[in-house]
Symmetry: C2
Subunit: 374 residues, 2 copies
């Protein structure tokens, strides 16, 4: 049996030296017998094609952590995406993953036991937790030698179209981005600034296709919000995400009663326990793997939301095709998909689900269906 | 390609002649190429070990229909249990199954598409629908060559103990049945008659172990019900199922506010859409495959119930180890199991989950884990 130190050394000088981008791949657990899971992770930086501006921040890169869980020679891939305003960092993910001991579990198929135990290791750390959940789902699908969509009982019938996001920018760039998005039947705009009406009018100078609007808590006054929603509705905006700060429950309920289009909770609805609280406050919820610890909890949120009459949007952060492909597995039962995260980056680390004319198509590869490119 | 007629002939004189109990096994679809699903079914009569009396009826047998779905040489087993007071019969199940055309689906893995389409064929027919759902889940697990509990992410860790039912009977028989049930840590009694207190006192003359009580809508007055619940609570009864008729929502809500022990909705909560209506009326729900069309919907009911703070019991009708083994897959996330249906019959058609000292243990066979014995 190799010691941890000698394995790490072997890992860096041998196995990983052929993969130059994996500059410091951490090894968590020595694979000391056939049936032990090994967790590895690697920081990575996503390069955005465009400066990305939303109501609360603006940036050109997104830090992520890529995970791998190996069992019996089979590797499952996962990912934690870490937009700076959400609080998790590559360091916090590394610290959390260091606490995870996968060698205590007999089988990767014990998802319920493994994921519920990991969830209790520390509060928060939802993206770190999702990076394990995604890798385990990928691993289990690969061990079954089936695409996860089949294991979950879905077909490869057409999925809902995914929206394509236009960030806040100058009219010239907004026009350019809108033209670039000609293949997408649904656009998403980031609102919540002085320039909101200008954004919409700029897009409408190029196309009449439906738009979803994400305010990211950027408005403060409920009357202003309602006026804006009517104005947007008149211009073909079909839903509004998080128009007011998430803690303004009474104001959100007031808007909910009056809005001519669905109001979707995003920042206000993080995990499964939040879903019942959406009733009477939002018309629907945005489920994102990085908020809710991954696919297993996300699927339950979807069932609960639907049973409570809530609309469901499946969203994402800036992510590689790894997390995007995982999230796609929630879309067969969703109303809207907003899974353009991998389309907005120039250095995607994976091939996975394809988006053809704005419509998601599952990969036929086993597991979540991704091939690592780096 | 065989015609339907010649295949039936071949089936009866060849394949099935070695299985004498399968007296008239209906063939739905000729297996005319490798990748087509074939649905077969067979009426069967369960013989109860004891005359079974509940508040609303008394009987010695239960009619059921056994189903098989064959694909690529692999057979999945299912079952519809048809207690007479629930309205479905062997004839109605046969008529419903005759309408099901499995040849239109590419793959048995398309559970969502197949089961949602079948659900829309006709209202009701929930046991008939469950017989297809169970067979498909068994088939998919076998095609994956994995026990379904693993495909669903559970481990073979100990499951909740299952209660053992003592039917309404004379004190002598009740005493005998209670003694027979010595291995079960939890008893279930059927109440709702004049003899309720006598039943409990008879059991308490034999054992002090916890009891669950099922009234099957047998009480009519809410004040009487509350008095009885207090009396039962004082004698170690830990929950009450359906104390009042299911349509007496206001009275049930009144009881819910006052009961010292959980009140569980059974007849009042049939399917997924009923679950949110349990809030404020019941403390929990009893999920049964035969009420809710099968495992796929049952799993969603479980998630929704838990998210709404409702307790969950997994129940059954008189069933073979086929439907019982399927239902066991819901127990890892449930509070109580009441899956003694196969223990009460003398002609079980399957080996499946084992119940050891009242605790359910998953079978390690693929699919729902059953072996057909007849």
């Amino acid at each position: 049996m190799l010691s941890r130190r000698s394995f790490l050394k072997k890992g860096f000088t041998g196995l990983w030296s052929t993969v130059p981008l994996l500059s410091h791949f951490h090894m968590k657990k020595v694979q000391n017998r056939k049936s032990t899971m090994v967790l590895r992770w690697q920081p990575y930086t996503l390069e955005l094609k465009h400066q990305f501006t939303i109501a609360v921040s603006s940036r050109k890169t997104t830090p992520i952590v890529l995970t791998e869980i190996e069992y019996d020679g089979v590797v499952g891939y996962g990912e934690a995406s870490l937009p700076p305003y959400l609080g998790e960092t590559q360091e916090s993910v590394g610290a959390f993953l260091s606490k995870v001991n996968l060698s205590q579990y007999t089988s990767p198929f014990e998802l319920e036991h493994i994921l519920s135990t990991i969830d209790k290791l520390a509060p928060g750390n939802t993206a770190a937790k999702a990076s394990i959940d995604i890798a385990l789902h990928d691993l289990v699908g690969k061990l079954l030698n089936r695409p996860l969509y089949q294991v979950w009982g879905f077909s490869n019938a057409p999925l809902p179209p995914t929206s394509f996001t236009i960030g806040i920018d100058t009219p010239r760039v907004v026009r350019e981005k809108t033209e670039e998005a000609h293949a997408y039947p649904l656009l998403k705009v980031k609102l919540g600034r002085e320039s909101d009406k200008e954004m919409i009018e700029t897009i409408r100078s190029v196309t009449g296709k439906p738009i979803t609007a994400d305010v990211n808590q950027g408005w403060n006054d409920k009357y202003y919000a309602l006026d804006m929603i009517h104005w947007l509705h008149d211009r073909g905006v079909i839903l509004i995400e998080q128009p007011l700060p998430k803690d303004r429950i009474d104001d959100l309920a007031w808007l909910y009663e009056r809005s001519p289009i669905p109001i979707i909770g995003d920042e206000g609805i993080q995990r499964l326990t939040d879903v019942p609280n959406a009733v009477g406050v939002y018309h629907g919820i945005n489920i994102k793997l990085m908020k809710c610890t991954g696919l297993r909890e996300a699927q339950r949120m979807l069932f609960v939301a639907r049973a409570l009459g809530l609309k469901v949007m499946i969203g994402c952060m800036t992510e590689t095709s790894c997390a995007i492909s995982a999230a796609a597995h929630l879309t067969p039962l969703a109303d809207w998909a907003d899974l353009d995260g991998a389309l907005l980056i120039s250095n995607d680390a994976f091939d996975g689900v394809k988006i053809h004319n704005g419509t998601i198509i599952f990969s036929e590869n086993p597991g979540i269906g991704v091939i690592k490119k780096i």
